[in-house]
Structure formats: structure tokens, C-alpha cells
């Protein structure tokens, strides 16, 4: 089942075009990896799905993106869209608040006030992010006191607390040590039965290990998009072949 569908999607930073005619169907309850050399537009594409690019001055988009068959520009309210499409950033970015306040930030801003309900959400989200055991006794401490890996898992918990259906992760493990990375990867695999997950990664191994589908972007164009297995074993495009085998310019 298609969860996200882009149709002839183009994106411009001022006069500079960053995405060219992207047509891509992202499937529900699958992990989709976006790979490609630096500057090819991976983050730009990912940030298009929850309209984060709108925040940047001079950004213009052409074409459309549909989530659950509704246009993100015409049919979705942007606040609701962002609740439905969670995002985890490259650099852990917890708020300078307590661990507790970080997790329930989303639910609270959406108007939930009931203490018990907030507590439940908080506990469940932290468990989902495999962080509960480490922080359950220090929930009132500042999130800034956690390690980088813990902070990133906190950000994941924070994203889950809003009950999104799609999770976007932009190199979410690139600043972490191998153990934290393994934990988060395990987590993502665990989560795919309930969520649609799109990850940007620079690591071929990570893409091959985790994802069901892989998309290769190059200079803002979607070069190849297929089952991960196919991309890594028998790519049909020369660029893809060179890129996944590491023989890239």
C-alpha cells in the first residue's frame, strides 16, 4: 500500500534547483532508505514530506506530494501533517527541558492536559525508544545531561509521543557510537510493523541491513528506486552500480 506518493516534485532554493521531477511511491509499514552522495538532495527530499523546507526563505516547490492520497499542500493542514509525519534530525536536538517535558512536548501542544494520560504516553514512548530503563529514575533531570546516543533516542521517543504514522530520519545515527547505532537500528526494525519509516543514510551497510526499499538520488534526480535487494545485487543503472560498490567518483 502506498503511504507517500510524490508526483513530478521539483524543489528550488531561490534559483537553485535541488530536486528534479521526483516520482516515488513509498510503501506503508516498510523501511525506505534514501542514499546518494553528499549534496544530492536527500535531506531536501526528506524535509519535503513534512514541509520543513517551507521554513527556509525563498524555497519554492513544483509538483505535489500525497500522503494517504491527500496533497500535503492543498489538503493537509501543516500542523496536522507534522503530527502525522514525525522527524528525527541528524544532530540530537532535545529541548533544554527535563526528559519528561521533552517527551510530552508534542502531546501537550496538541492540547492533552490529563496528567495520567501524559504519563502513559511518556512511559510508552520511552519504552518504544528503548530508553525507559536508563532514564526512568531521572525523568526530571535536564535532557541536556544525557549522552549523545541517549539524547537521540529521547528525540525518537519525543517523535513517537505524537503518535505519528510516518517517521523520517535524517542520518539519525551518524553522530552516534556503534552500540547506540545498533540499538537504534534494532528499534527501527522493531517499529516498522506499526510505522512507515524513511531513513536517509550515508552508510551502504546500514541501508542494506535495514531497509526494504532503497532510493538512489544523484544531483537532485531519482536515479533508481527499487527493492533494497535488487539495488544492492543487480542494479539496473550504471550510476547505482558504481555507487553501491563504492566505486564512485
Amino acid at each position: 500500500m502506498v503511504k507517500i506518493k510524490t508526483t513530478n516534485y521539483n524543489l528550488f532554493y531561490g534559483l537553485k534547483q535541488a530536486l528534479f521531477d521526483i516520482n516515488m511511491d513509498i510503501y506503508k509499514n516498510k523501511i525506505t532508505a534514501i542514499i546518494g552522495p553528499s549534496g544530492c538532495g536527500k535531506s531536501t527530499l526528506l524535509r519535503s514530506f513534512n514541509r520543513m523546507n517551507d521554513l527556509i526563505d525563498g524555497v519554492k516547490a513544483k509538483g505535489d506530494i500525497f500522503i494517504d492520497d491527500k496533497s500535503i499542500y492543498k489538503d493537509w493542514d501543516v500542523v496536522e501533517l507534522r503530527r502525522k509525519v514525525g522527524m528525527v534530525f541528524q544532530k540530537p536536538n532535545p529541548f533544554p527541558k527535563s526528559i519528561f517535558d521533552n517527551v510530552i512536548y508534542g502531546p501537550r501542544t496538541s492540547g492533552i492536559k490529563d496528567k495520567r494520560k501524559l504519563n502513559d504516553i511518556m512511559e510508552k514512548s520511552l519504552k518504544q525508544a528503548a530508553l525507559w530503563d536508563e532514564v526512568k529514575d531521572i525523568l526530571r533531570q535536564s535532557a541536556m545531561s544525557l549522552s549523545g546516543g541517549q539524547q537521540q533516542r529521547l528525540c525518537i521517543a519525543r517523535a513517537f509521543a505524537v503518535k505519528p504514522e510516518i517517521i523520517l530520519m535524517d542520518e539519525a545515527t551518524s553522530s552516534l557510537d556503534p552500540i547506540s547505532t545498533a540499538k537504534i537500528e534494532e528499534l527501527i526494525l522493531e517499529l516498522k510493523k506499526d510505522y512507515t519509516i524513511v531513513v536517509v543514510t550515508h552508510s551502504m551497510q546500514q541501508a542494506a541491513r535495514m531497509s526494504d526499499y532503497t532510493a538512489l538520488l544523484y544531483l537532485g534526480k531519482l536515479i533508481e528506486y527499487d527493492k533494497t535487494e535488487k539495488i544492492f545485487t543487480s542494479p539496473s543503472n550504471e550510476i547505482t552500480k558504481n555507487y553501491v560498490t563504492g566505486r564512485f567518483g
Binding site: 529541548f95 512536548y105 501542544t109
Partner: protein, 284 residues
């Protein structure tokens, strides 16, 4: 030694001397006031009104007056200043209009305080009919510190990393929620510091209040915002210029100076302390 090294060395010496002169001057002032003022300080001096045509007694009404004026100025300037700074930092996107706005604010900060005093006299005291009162004085002082508070707040807001805003918006928060729940709280300690430093400045101003709020002699404490009040800087000014017992009141003048100085320094120290404490606890 070649020419360049020589001129660099010379520059360095000039810088050193300049810094030394400034610091020495500061210490001289503080030392001088302290030495001459400390003998006047007593519990009575701090808690009793002046007596005997202000040649004896304390300065309690002036302390209270300065305190009320400072609080009043904050009530006027803080909400307006913070809202203006939010507009400038979070809602504008550059361009000519913004540049003109900024230029205006910067110029406002450069206007002599006596001009604010006359402006307050014309507008609040006469035109609005508030008379010479706590209200008129607070409004005048409020406008005087407004540019400083805007500048300090805007700087504090700009110091908050974009990451926090993006994280909040990505969680489905609105822009207003993002500003009030994430950006402002994160910037709060720096904003408070800026405010404390500007209050310190206001507390010592004479010119803006001499036509708008300050009473020459009024031992009774204010009971409403339409009352005139005594104030520390104005008290010093009147004793030093208008008193017929100039020599006699000298100890009181120094004592009052010392109290005012202590108040200002205390406020500055509090501001710096908050900033240092906040800096330790954040790591972005």
C-alpha cells in the same frame, strides 16, 4: 625591531594604558564614594525619612521611590520590549522596512535622557494629565530603557539555535507555541540579565524623572500611581545644588550616592550571576 613590530608594540602599550586609566578611574570613584559615604550609613539612615529641612534623618522615601519607579519602568518596558523583540527576531525577514525599524530603535537608544524627560513632561504630565507622578515617571523611564530591552531580548532570541525551532515545529507545534514554549524559556536567563542591567541604568537616571515624577521633599510613601515620589538620584541632585545647607548635607549626599551605587552594582551582579549560572547549565 622593525617598524611593524614597533608600531604593534606601541599600540599594545596604548591599549594597556587606556584600560588601566579606565579601571583606575572606576576604582577611584567607588573608593571615594565609599570612604565618604560609609559613615552615614546606619539602620536609621536606610529606614527613616529626612528631617530638619533634609539636613538630618534618612533617605527611606527616596529608596522606596526609586524602587517603585524601577518596577514601574519594568512593567511598562518589559512586555512591550519582549513582544517587539519577538517580532524582530521571529517574524521579520529582512528588507528595507526592517532596516528602518532597527535604525529607529538604535537611535532611540542614543537620545539624551533629558529629551526623554521633556517628552514625558509634555506627553504624560501635561497632555495626558497624569501630573508629576509615579505613573508619568514610570512611563518615561520605561520608554528610556525600551530600546535596551529590545536589543537584549532580540540578541537572546537569536542566540537560540534554529534546531530547537525546527524540532518543535516538526512535532506539530504552531509558531506561537514554538516561541512561547521553547524559544522564550531557553532565552529567559539572558533576557533577565539584560533587563537587570538596564534597570540598573534606569535607577540612577535623574533627568527623565525630574519633571515627571520626582519630589523635592515628600516623606510620606506613595499610596497611588498618581503620587509624586522622592528618588535617590534626584535627592542627591537637589541636596547638591539647591540646598542652602550644602556643606551640612555632604555626608547625606555621599551616603545616598553609596546606596544608589550599591543598588546598581547589586543589580548588575545579580544579572551577571544569572547569566553565568545559565551558561553552565546549557550546552548548545
Amino acid at each position: 625591531m622593525n617598524k611593524r613590530n614597533f608600531s604593534q608594540g606601541l599600540n599594545f602599550i596604548i591599549i594597556k594604558i587606556s584600560v588601566f586609566v579606565v579601571v583606575a578611574f572606576l576604582f577611584f570613584i567607588i573608593f571615594h564614594i565609599f570612604r565618604n559615604g560609609i559613615s552615614s550609613i546606619s539602620i536609621d539612615f536606610l529606614t527613616k525619612p529626612p528631617t530638619d529641612s533634609m539636613t538630618r534623618g534618612g533617605i527611606f522615601p527616596a529608596i522606596v521611590g526609586t524602587f517603585c519607579l524601577s518596577i514601574g519602568a519594568l512593567i511598562v518596558a518589559v512586555p512591550m520590549g519582549i513582544i517587539s523583540a519577538i517580532y524582530l527576531s521571529e517574524y521579520t525577514k529582512g528588507g528595507l522596512f526592517l532596516r528602518i525599524l532597527r535604525l529607529g530603535i538604535r537611535n532611540l537608544a542614543g537620545i539624551p535622557s533629558i529629551v526623554f524627560g521633556l517628552f514625558g513632561l509634555a506627553l504624560f504630565v501635561i497632555k495626558f494629565g497624569f501630573g508629576s507622578s509615579l505613573l508619568s515617571g514610570s512611563l518615561t523611564l520605561g520608554f528610556l530603557i525600551l530600546p535596551t530591552i529590545i536589543a537584549a531580548t532580540e540578541e537572546a532570541l537569536r542566540g537560540i539555535p534554529q534546531d530547537f525551532r525546527e524540532a518543535s515545529l516538526a512535532l506539530g507545534a504552531t509558531k506561537v507555541q514554538t516561541i512561547f514554549k521553547v524559544v522564550l524559556p531557553a532565552a529567559l536567563s539572558n533576557i533577565v540579565t539584560g533587563i537587570l542591567l538596564s534597570v540598573g541604568r534606569v535607577a540612577g537616571e535623574t533627568a527623565p524623572i525630574m519633571f515627571t515624577a520626582a519630589a523635592f521633599y515628600k516623606p510620606a510613601l506613595p499610596t497611588s500611581v498618581f503620587d509624586e515620589v522622592m528618588a535617590l538620584p534626584y535627592h542627591i541632585y537637589t541636596l547638591a545644588t539647591e540646598g542652602t545647607h550644602f556643606e551640612q548635607t555632604l555626608p547625606i549626599q555621599y551616603g545616598t550616592c553609596l546606596v544608589l551605587l550599591a543598588l546598581v552594582v547589586l543589580m548588575d551582579i545579580a544579572g551577571i550571576w544569572i547569566r553565568l549560572k545559565a551558561r553552565k547549565s546549557k550546552k548548545w
